[in-house]
Amino acid sequence: MSPLLEVTNLRKHFPLHGGVLGRTTGYVYAVDGVSFDIARGETLSLVGESGCGKSTVGRAILRLVAPTSGEVLLDGERIDNLPNAQLRRLRQRMQVVFQDPFSSLSPRMKVRDILAEPLRNFDLARGAALEARLVALLDKVRLPRDALDRFPHEFSGGQRQRICIARALAPEPDLIVCDEAVSALDVSVKAQIVNLLADLQDELGLTLLFISHDLAIVEHLTHRVAVMYLGKLVEIADRRTLFTAPRHPYTRALLSAVPVPDPTAPRNRMILTGDVPSPIRPPSGCRFHTRCPFVFDRCRTEEPLLRPGAPGQLAACHLEEMPAVAA
């Protein structure tokens, strides 16, 4: 079966303007050649530190920002270069849940209008049918039915995120991009929302692109994980492989940073030194070489490509070719 979403060599470079004339003086290489695909009904998580470009990937797929180059295919059709009129119809098939449930709902609209907007917009339901769908949506996200006539400020953060999810579900999309959808929530609420997303996926056969910096959350919900560093994918693997046998040093460092609830558990932490380099002047060769504990000469000059490791696993590291050292 062909994947629902295919992303090939996606790039997004934001121009920097400087000087009196406002000429382009450089670029922020936010996303620099990212490729992956998501099968129908699958969850792919995109993880990485702040500023690694994971949100930009999501926005470029949704065409909230125009990609600089690369291809995005939904169901085998290119969508990265669609004219605006067609793009608007396509939005019915891809929806988004944003990070902050407080700012992503219009404070002046009732929940009824918020949820009805996509339905009216795509002319999916009217009158009594519309009302029935609104109620069904609330049931799906486990909100009380009297929520319809209230304003967003009358809800808690978790409830608001449920409204956002209901809004994304309204036009019955194929793909939902969750852009840090649970990052702004309290831990207990976070778990509820993650469970809700997992349940919805089972019920509705949704395909999710789950963008997050929180590996602990990702582990609960995802089928596969893609790890990004400074605008590039460094490793992509199914959940089990990634969490048990990560190959890229950066992935290992990320995993070792996940908090463990048991303070007495023995920990073998791999602590990275230094900061993430600027995406305006990314390092030569492997972008991780400035912080990698296993760095050697080749890393500084030659950029590693994604190479297959275990089945379904790809990692971009020169160590992959030197099994003796990698161990």
């Binding site: 939005r91 700012s103 709902l105 219009s106 907007e117 917009n121 809004r167």
Partner: protein, 342 residues
């Protein structure tokens, strides 16, 4: 109608602004009265009972020979003593409180015009022997209506222009702003002089002309709101949901700009009234003979020996503008977030 708690708080804040709230009611009463100016000051009777028939001259035109064979079949002139005598002989008639229209020339003054205030003419007559009170009532109505229409249309254009600039940004914004800057530098008065030398501007021509320049008042503030609004998370969310641009502007961003707009409106209204009055004062406004407050001001200047003209003009125009400014203050107070949010 169910009002949201916020709207109710705003109404309460508006009422709490005593001065503005009083001004609002005074203005409303005066304006409503002036809408019925024809029934208050007119040179034709409200009702005529003649030979067992009813006539409503204030609404209908009747030929003069309705009231006697000896008259001609032209439009009846009820100010003529002969007509009045004929009607009184066969019935009766009710006159408005002020038996003069704004353009009625009072022939029974017996004094050189402008005549000082008297029982017949409480505010005197102007230099063409027309009743000043009648002219003030009609002039008030013209000024306010002109102001309303100008304010409404120019705000709509201004909001639309600002919205487009702010929403699309980039080149649209750049060109729009430069155009606004150049356009606002045009010498309005001289253009109006040129226009006046070609045609005699009436109410609508004048309105259209002023409209060409007055829409810019709101553009800046609305543009700023839209620039801010298009970056808001819920606007991006709505865009990602596939909401069309016009809908995004109308439903999601415009509500943010309404407060700034509404706060401006009373002041634009008073500005429009002033502009019309000053053009009339200079003689470039409404056609000669039209009832206008500005024209009364200029009469006051030309007839310093008749101070009732100048005083009337001053108090009416000053009173009207004061009322509008007070209302504006109350509106501003009602929409002030610092006072409204507990």
């Amino acid at each position: 109608m169910r009002l949201s708690p916020l709207t109710r708080r705003r109404l309460a804040a508006f009422r709490a602004h005593r001065r503005g709230y009083m001004a609002f009611w005074v203005f409303l009463v005066l304006f409503t009265l002036s809408l019925f100016a024809e029934f208050i000051a007119n040179d034709r009777p409200l009702l005529v009972h003649y030979d067992g028939h009813w006539y409503v001259p204030v609404l209908h035109d009747y030929p003069e020979n309705t009231f006697g064979r000896s008259f001609l079949p032209t439009e009846a002139d009820y100010t003529m003593p002969a007509v009045q005598r004929a009607i009184r002989a066969h019935g009766w008639m009710i006159w408005p409180a002020i038996p003069y229209c704004y353009d009625t020339i009072a022939k029974d003054v017996g004094q050189p015009s402008p005549a000082p205030p008297s029982w017949k003419h409480p505010l005197g007559t102007d230099d063409e022997a027309r009743d000043v009170l009648a002219r003030v009532i009609y002039g008030f109505r013209t000024s306010v209506l002109f102001g309303f229409v100008l304010t409404a249309v120019s705000s709509m254009i201004g909001v639309a222009a600002g919205a487009l600039q702010g929403f699309y940004g980039g080149l649209t914004d750049l060109l729009g702003q430069r155009f606004t800057e150049i356009w606002s530098g045009m010498p309005q008065l001289y253009l109006l002089l040129i226009l006046g030398s070609i045609i005699t501007p009436g109410f609508w021509v004048l309105l259209g002309f002023l409209l060409m320049f007055s829409w810019m008042t709101l553009t800046g503030v609305v543009r700023a709101e839209f620039l801010r609004g298009r970056g808001l998370e819920y606007v991006r969310a709505a865009r990602a949901l596939g909401v069309s641009d016009p809908m995004l502007m109308l439903r999601h961003i415009l509500p943010n700009a309404t407060i700034a707009t509404l706060t401006y409106l009373p002041f634009i209204l008073s500005g429009s009234v002033t502009v019309l009055a000053s053009l009339d004062f200079l003689g470039f406004g409404l056609p000669p003979g039209a009832a206008s407050l500005g024209e009364l001001v200029s009469q006051g200047r030309n007839n310093l020996q008749a101070p009732w003209l100048g005083f009337t003009a001053f108090f009416v125009l000053g009173g009207l503008l004061t009322l509008l400014v007070f209302i504006g203050e109350a509106v501003r107070a009602a929409f002030d977030p610092r006072r409204i949010v507990e």
